[in-house]
């Protein structure tokens, strides 16, 4: 009997070791350990054994059963693992096929740039004001210290709607419009983005374009604050290693006034085609708000001072993205817009 048990064990282990799939292993289990299996058959003959032998053989039979079961378990886990691997391997797909396309639209590059600039100023504590695009002469010129019949008005050839009503030629009207409402409140920090219109239409001018006006009114605001603020803004817009340069200029509504240049974003100041070899790019106009402008809109220029600046959005977008033709921005070609 002992021999028989040993031979069952040997046979079972041998068969298990050569089994190649789970069903074979299952068959082996039935064959050796099932109700009609070989081990069961042998154990049925236990009754014929002596009382001394019975526990010994019983223990052996248990050992044989356990070792076969262990072996089966082990084999099955190996086979399951192999099966899983085979399964995974059968499931291989071509990962280089293109993904499912999602239809996502794009913001217009001018909106992208406007949003960026707005974020910078919101971070500096500015609020955003919106004022009419069709404007009365008073806010577009008079309240900005443009004398009537003065050549300074010719700098900005206007579209008229009716006498004294025109399409705003700049966003600077934001200054008197907001000041008038808020005076004598300080600190007033405002940007006014929007469409502006001038009678110009050629390769480098569009009759409609976008500006952002910005201004601060508070006690003790100085030209050096203007320089510092613009430096922060320019660096956020074009990178931390930008420099700025201010050149004296003239706007009726600011004094002292300046044209502000940024070190060329293409050549870093070395001189290239974009900056006409000067190393500098003219980027905005700025200055200290003229005392007359403060006075007309309800602030006392002896009590408060302020600075203002105006930025061309198209110019920034063109520099930022290397766009070489203004007209692309208003052509709205799908292939162009898809790039932003």
């Amino acid at each position: 009997m002992r021999q028989k048990l040993e031979s069952i064990r040997n046979d079972a282990l041998k068969e298990i070791s050569v089994a190649s799939d789970l069903s074979q292993v299952n068959d082996i289990r039935v064959k050796f350990l099932g109700k009609k299996g070989e081990l069961t058959n042998v154990l049925r003959g236990m009754g014929a054994l002596s009382a001394d032998e019975r526990p010994v053989i019983g223990q052996l039979a248990n050992e044989v059963r356990e070792s076969i079961e262990r072996e089966i378990e082990q084999k099955m886990s190996v086979l399951r693992e192999a099966e899983k691997l085979a399964q995974l391997s059968r499931e291989t797909i071509d990962v280089t096929l293109p993904g499912r396309p999602f239809q996502i639209g794009k913001r217009h590059p001018l909106t992208v740039v406007l949003d960026e600039i707005k974020e910078i100023f919101l971070g500096l504590g500015f609020e955003i004001a919106e004022t009419p695009e069709v404007e009365v002469d008073y806010y577009n010129f008079e309240a900005l210290n443009f004398p009537a019949d003065h050549p300074a008005r010719d700098m900005q050839d206007s579209f008229y709607i009716s006498p004294g009503v025109l399409l705003r030629t700049h966003t600077s009207g934001t200054q008197p419009r907001v000041m008038e409402k808020r005076a004598p409140y300080i600190p007033l920090k405002v940007i006014g983005p929007g469409r502006v219109y001038r009678r110009d239409d050629d390769a480098t001018h569009s009759p409609m374009f976008h500006q952002i006006e910005g201004f601060i009114i508070d006690k003790n605001i100085s030209f050096s604050d203007l320089k510092g603020t613009l430096l922060v803004v320019v660096r956020q817009m074009f990178g931390e290693d930008r420099q700025i340069r201010l050149r004296p200029s003239f706007f009726p509504f600011t004094e002292p006034s300046a044209e502000v240049d940024v070190s060329c974003i293409m050549c870093n100041g070395a001189g290239c085609r974009v900056c006409s070899n000067t190393g500098w790019l003219e980027i905005l106009g700025a200055g200290m708000i003229h005392p007359n402008v403060l006075k007309m809109s309800g602030y006392d220029p002896e009590e408060v001072t302020g600075f203002a600046f105006g930025l061309g959005v198209e110019r920034v977008a063109m520099l930022k993205y290397g766009i070489d033709d203004l007209r692309l921005l208003f052509d709205n070609d799908k292939r162009f817009l898809a790039q932003f």
């Binding site: 096929l97 004398p147 922060v232």
Partner: protein
């Protein structure tokens, strides 16, 4: 303003190069836009005398000349028609590089040639800068011109021209002396004013000329000087060169002198033929109704009664400050000249020159404001030059009518105010020094400076103007960079701004791309959009002075922009378009100066969605765009809106269009665009579009969202399928279901819609999934069945619906 560097150096010491000067001026406020080197490339061109001319043996049109250039005699073959023996010409020698190419030793039909005779054009010079008889053909010079002289020297081109880009306030720099003063302030060197001494005859002006100013508010000063025995000739070469450098064409001695003084001192002068002035009387007055004048450019101009004229007792003889009259022009026969040197009101000249569309060097200066205290000086300067060049003799004295004298301004300048504005304390001594460099008078008292500003600086009338002078000459780049101190402020967007940004965001997430179009439209668009004559959208805001008919009116709809951009993209073979724009539309308001500007959203789609290898493209139809609208409304948390059929919008398909309603008001439209309109835009596919008043949406935006508890008890789902008449609206079925389902109905969704086989003609089958749920218990089948039956009955009763199994 073009400034000859050579000429400028007559009035001020310039110890730096032109390039360095340009940089310094630009950085202190007088921008040098361009530096021109007029003589560049004109080397190896010299004067020569044509000693002999012989016919070319083998060519009728060519001759060969022997030309003496002083050091040698060269043989040159030329085809120039106007060559003569003894002529002094310019010869480009072998090795010279002209705009047309390099001059080489050549053989022309067998005869050797060692150079080329030059015309102005061949040297790359503008013929308009030369006297009329020199504008064509080879240039010719006086017989006593030395031989072998360099062309640059001869033509005064050994110079550098600085082109100034002057801001409107710096009218004082519209003259050589003015620029010299600025240079002196920038470099700290001395100004050298020309010495003005007038040689006069014994004849006195008294009684020879009368000047009457009827409108002293428009003419603050009028100076006249009389010159006799005038001989009209070309002006001296040096004067011609200077005028040419300034961009002015030499004409004749008298005219050239007036232009020379204009450029030198900035005072416009006018020369009348004295003998043609009736009664030798000048009357400065406004034009009479219907009055006309032939101006110097031989154009008859109708004057308005607002315009100032210079007249004699019979007629106007000049449009004051703008242009002289043809009748009293200087001609070859002129023997007596009256020089006018006046001050006119800037605004009046600006208006007249704008109205007549006539701008001259003179009108431009008057409009910007000249120095009334410079009039006499300029008249004297002109007389001096005329006499010095032997062009005439000056009658003793001047007529000087100066009804509105102007004194120098005295302005207080406080150093502490200067420091506050600039942001750095500029030492008082430095402020004083800057004022002195500018030629201003400075006194100091306990409260700061009292600065006396000469009338030539009309731009300086207040303290802030002086502070600007300090700042620019101190140097903007010497001013430190600081950040504003003071109270902090809150930077945030308004609700409207936040919502607008969110709208743009949702639209892009829904697959539409933003466009930005001009606010202008052609009035024809009203027809293109199919608007009938009585449509209220035909009330538009019109531009008085558009650049073209394309930009005549302001948009009162945003749809044109969408269709137009679709059309342009289609023309470029771009397919499958999905665009939107956010912007303002303009509508006139009765009795208001300004139109109403309404922030508006428009969108349009055409073609199919993006497709891939797994998923086919879907047609972007009405329901696609409606889905976009629903997503937008959901994102904005607007729940109470209604989409109802709209059959009367002329731009849209009558059966495929809906109004977007908020609280009973129509705030927008969505639908398929009318085929006539798509045809007008040459769009060959269906276009779906929407437009909605964004301001209405903004005010309807739902408040902060509140969380509602997730259901604790299971839902029961039931489907309901009905057959109804084709014209029954989905919204009506929905409403009846909701009304009859009561509180327990959680959601309805349409999952199938079918027409065709097995459904009778004129009917459609609709299947809805209904979900019932109670917040506090598990529903029983019986409960739901009762509701379901009620719904079915209601649908049968009110819509004649037939139930399907």
């Amino acid at each position: 303003m073009r400034v000859s560097y050579k000429w400028l150096k007559e009035y001020v010491d310039i110890p730096v190069s032109p390039e360095e000067l340009a940089e310094k001026m630009t950085m202190t406020g007088v921008a040098v836009e361009n530096i021109e080197y007029p003589g560049r490339g004109l080397d190896k061109i010299v004067t020569g005398r044509i000693e002999s001319i012989s016919p070319h043996p083998d060519a009728d049109k060519l001759v060969f000349c022997r030309i003496n250039i002083g050091s040698e005699v060269l043989q040159v073959v030329t085809g120039a028609p106007n060559v003569r023996e003894g002529q002094i010409i310019l010869l480009a020698l072998v090795g010279a590089t002209l705009p047309g190419g390099k001059i080489t030793k050549a053989k022309l039909r067998g005869v050797e040639s060692f150079g080329m005779l030059c015309s102005a054009q061949e040297m790359g010079l503008d013929p308009k800068n030369f006297p009329p008889d020199q504008q064509e053909g080879i240039l010719e010079f006086a017989a006593d011109t030395p031989l072998g002289v360099d062309a640059r020297e001869l033509l005064g081109l050994d110079d550098v021209v600085l082109e100034l880009e002057l801001t409107p306030n710096r009218a004082d720099c519209l003259s050589m002396v003015g620029v010299a003063r600025e240079v002196s302030a920038v470099l700290g060197t001395k100004v050298k004013m020309p010495e003005i001494k007038v040689g006069e005859t014994s004849e006195v002006i008294d009684g020879q000329v009368t000047v009457t100013i009827n409108n002293p508010e428009l003419c603050g000063r009028y100076v006249g000087r009389l010159i006799r025995n005038v001989k009209i000739e070309p002006s001296p070469v040096w004067m011609q060169h200077r005028l040419q450098a300034a961009g002015i064409r030499p004409i004749s001695n008298i005219v050239d002198v007036t232009n020379y003084v204009l450029m030198e001192l900035g005072q416009p002068l006018h020369a009348f033929d004295y003998d043609k002035l009736r009664d030798h009387a000048i009357i400065v007055r406004k034009a009479k109704p219907g009055e006309k004048i032939y101006s110097l450019d031989d154009v008859e101009r109708e004057l308005s009664t607002e315009m100032l004229v210079i007249a004699d007792p019979a007629r106007p003889v000049a449009i004051a400050g703008v242009m002289g009259g043809l009748d009293t022009e200087i001609t070859g026969e002129t023997t007596s000249v009256l020089i006018e040197s006046a001050y006119f009101n800037p605004a009046s000249i600006h208006r007249t020159s704008k109205t007549l569309a006539l701008q001259s060097e003179s009108s431009m200066r008057f409009a910007k404001g000249i120095d009334p205290n410079g009039c006499l000086l300029a008249a004297n300067r002109a007389c001096q030059l005329i006499q010095e060049m032997g062009a005439g003799e000056n009658v003793k004295g001047a007529v000087d009518n100066f009804p509105v004298p102007r004194d120098n301004a005295v302005i207080r300048l406080r150093p502490e105010r200067t420091a506050l504005i600039i942001g750095i304390e500029v030492p008082a001594s430095q402020i004083r020094e800057i004022m002195i460099k500018l030629g201003f008078g400075v006194k100091e008292d306990g409260e700061g400076f009292l600065v006396e500003v000469p009338t030539r600086r009309g731009d300086i009338s207040a303290e802030i103007d002086l502070i600007e002078e300090v700042a620019r000459l101190f140097g903007y780049n010497n001013i430190p960079t600081t950040l504003p101190e003071g109270a902090s402020s809150e930077g945030r967007k308004t609700i409207a701004q936040t919502v607008t940004d969110e709208v743009i965001d949702v639209m892009t997430r829904c697959g539409l791309t933003e466009i930005i179009t001009l606010s202008f439209m052609n009035p024809r668009v009203l027809d293109i959009l199919n608007l009938p004559a009585d449509n209220p959208l035909r009330e538009v805001v019109t531009v008085e002075n558009p650049l073209s008919e394309e930009q005549r009116i302001l948009r009162m709809t945003m749809l044109h922009g969408i269709f137009d951009i679709m059309s342009r993209n289609t023309a470029r073979k771009n397919k499958d378009l999905a665009f939107f724009e956010v912007g303002r539309i303009f509508t006139p308001v009765e009795g208001e100066k300004l139109p109403k500007e309404t922030l508006t959203l428009a969108a349009g789609v055409m073609g199919r969605t993006k497709s891939g290898w797994q998923t086919g493209a879907a047609e972007m139809d009405f329901y696609y765009l409606k889905g976009v609208l629903e997503t937008l409304m959901d994102t904005l948390n607007i729940t109470r809106y209604n989409i109802a059929p709209e059959t009367a919008n002329p731009t849209f398909h009558p059966g495929r269009t809906a109004g977007i309603e908020l609280a009973g008001n129509v705030v927008g439209v969505i639908g398929e665009v009318h085929p006539n309109v798509t045809d007008n835009y040459r769009l060959s596919e269906k276009v779906l579009a929407l437009q909605v008043n964004l301001e209405e949406l903004i005010s309807a935006v739902g408040g902060a969202r509140k969380y509602s508890q997730l259901p604790k008890y299971p839902a029961i789902e039931r489907d309901i399928a009905i057959v109804v008449s084709k014209d029954v609206l989905s919204a009506d079925v929905n409403r009846i279901i909701r009304k009859n389902a009561g509180q327990l109905l959680e959601s309805i969704s349409l999952f199938d819609l079918y027409e065709g086989e097995q459904i009778k003609e004129g009917y459609k089958s609709m299947a809805f999934a209904l979900k019932f749920q109670a917040p506090d218990r598990t529903l029983t089948d019986e409960e739901v069945n009762t509701i379901h039956e009620k719904i079915q009955k209601a649908l049968q009763d009110s819509l004649g619906a037939e139930l399907r199994a």
